[in-house]
């Protein structure tokens, strides 16, 4: 297997958690294994179904911890539970989500950040954050939709 910029190991994540003052417990390792095994996005509930024997609360707490430590991206889609993906350390970015299969791509566009600065300068208020999600049909899903 060729290592890529997208590759993140359970151990790396566990180290980050530990350096944040949290214990690298067996439960957390099991959740992380599941997260890393899926390359793509997932919901908390999917983890609950996948990782047997751990309490729901522990799974949700772990997801919250990973989010707080900046290890996950959270995507709040139009409906349904939020989806999470590993944060790939590419810095600030946005997401393209396939409405067919749920696969998540990342993109960055400096034009957006520039636009936001202009917007702030126009007196709308102090910008605290933003979210941009683009919904696509990926090349694999496009042929499948009967339309």
């Amino acid at each position: 297997m060729i290592p890529s910029i997208n590759m993140v190991t359970t151990k790396e994540i566990l180290d980050t958690i530990e350096s944040g003052g949290h214990r690298p417990t067996a439960s957390r390792r099991r959740v992380l294994d599941a997260v890393v095994a899926r390359g793509d996005g997932f919901t908390a509930e999917e983890l609950v179904a996948e990782v047997k024997g751990l309490g729901r609360a522990t799974i949700y707490r772990t997801v919250r911890l990973l989010l707080k430590e900046g290890l996950l991206c959270k995507l709040s889609l139009q409906d349904g539970a939020p989806r999470y993906t590993l944060f790939h350390r590419l810095g600030h970015h946005h997401h393209l989500v396939c409405v067919g299969c749920g696969v998540v791509q990342e993109f960055r566009q400096s034009v957006i950040e520039q636009m936001l600065m202009n917007l702030e300068a126009s007196g709308t208020g102090t910008i605290m954050g933003h979210r941009i999600e683009v919904y696509v049909l990926c090349p694999a899903c496009l042929p499948k939709v009967g339309s």
Copy 2:
């Protein structure tokens, strides 16, 4: 009162509903009155609390109807229930939401739509939609945050 482009009356909305083949019932009128009375954003649950005597299901159904008829904008924030605002007939636009008081401003930026076309041309898939939300502290809320 000076009519503005933002002014929408219960009757106008009811007419739109009717021309969409739906009945302008007393329940719907009551929900609309509440929606129009609030100038700002609201959640479905807030309407349930505000409009006494109507069943929860009716309120939720009415919100769904208004959304389908293009009379409401839906904002899915990071957490909590989605917020809705009257669609002001300004055409496609995006939202600035104050994280302090929840007030919603609208904005349009052609640079965004241009960027999306470029993104699509780069082979990421067929764009089906997008959502952009900017979180701000509005001029009224900025002084209130102790930081």
